[in-house]
Amino acid sequence: MSGAMGEVVGAYTLALLVGAVLLAAASMLHARVRQRRIGIRRTLERCYVNVLNRRLLEGGSAWCCFPLIERRSSRLTLAVVVAQIGAMTYGYDRRVLAKVVRRYGLDRLLLEQARLSGGMRRVEWLHTLAQIECSDRIYQRMMNRYGRSRNSYIALCMTLAALNHSPERSIAILAERRGRLSPFDLAEVLMMLKRGLIPVAYQPLLRAEQANVRLLGLCIVRYFGVTEAEEDIVAAIATDDREVAESALFTLCALRLRLDRELVREAARRMSEGERRAWYRHLASEGYSSRAIAQIVPEKELSLLGEYVEQTVASYKRALMN
């Protein structure tokens, strides 16, 4: 009896071992196939970058020849390359990129890929699509499908796509946007500005009624260090919109403008304790003198500020002071 039991246990153990070995072999094979795919994609990506960049640098009318372009995965790689070149560079002839998109139907392909994907993958494809020049038909299809999405990432992609598609309507697009633009969203929009897609005139933006437009205006002022906009920034601090007022306050500090104003003191009083601490940290890192700060910070909170200044000096700035 015990011999039969032993045989059964032995058979089960053997089956388990064989199963484990098969599973390990399958996972190793999968990993190798995946590695190979990644390798092929990287090689193709590099090849496409070389072909396209050389064409953009040297000019001329000769058509670029992309190897293995008949494959769907290769065309997706090309779409990513076109979007990345468009996002990371400026000054290139954008017509060449648009021509590549049209010739290989990259916009349609990306929209289809976004439809087939889910979650953040979809967002990634839509973000890529927002960075290339797509045709009116594909743009309409994209807006019909995702234009009313409540997902904040997709909403940002749609804003970027709209700005890329009709840059002359950029202010109206931002004004019509339903949700608020976060600082990260603004950074993305600002990148489009540097590529020359959005007007740089900051005054109409700062004086606009819509919060998103004002936030972008403040962002531009910070980016270019426009100290001439002092009056408009101070006026923005006085607005009822908390986000705009806070952004204006931080802009004032970023430009190292005079803080000794009643409006600034009042804005600081309106802040919660956490917000005020964040602002003190900002003041410390911006390098305001203790005398300038003492005029606006209540006496009991001055020690807190001193602590932040010490922390800043003790951190990365120490390397510069040695």
Binding site: R54, L57, Q84, K194, Y223, Y316, R318
Partner: protein, 122 residues
């Protein structure tokens, strides 16, 4: 032949810069990390084009080594960061040129070519 090192963890920019600089008369070496580039003495290169600005800001060895080196290479930083304080800190810690992304590639190549011509003409 002048030597240029590109240090970039971003493979795409790595490929883009490498391809663009192939038109410049120089030997180009690419590294993913500073640690890889530091295997050779920094004076081995005439110009370092980096996308990683943190070694200059975190008190790492790079800034000190650059200051101590007699024949230090020119350092160009390419970064998404654009706030003035960051740029000033980088310039103070030994960076020669600072470019923000998105970048104008022909202009960048032009600056590098001008630098090479300057070395060539003494």
């Amino acid at each position: 032949m002048y030597r240029i090192a590109i240090i970039s963890p971003d493979r795409f920019l790595w490929a883009l810069l490498c391809n663009s600089l192939s038109l410049v008369e120089a030997e180009v070496a690419c590294f993913e990390r500073w640690s890889e580039a530091l295997i050779e003495p920094l004076s081995h290169y005439n110009l370092i084009l980096t996308l990683e600005s943190y070694p200059f800001l975190n008190g790492a060895d790079v800034a000190r080594r650059l200051r101590l080196s007699n024949r230090r290479p020119r350092i160009y930083v390419l970064s998404w960061l654009h706030d003035e304080q960051n740029v000033l800190s980088l310039l103070e810690s030994g960076v020669d040129q600072y470019f923000t992304l998105p970048v104008n590639i022909p202009r960048l190549c032009g600056k590098i070519t001008a630098q090479i011509n300057e070395w060539r003409n003494g």
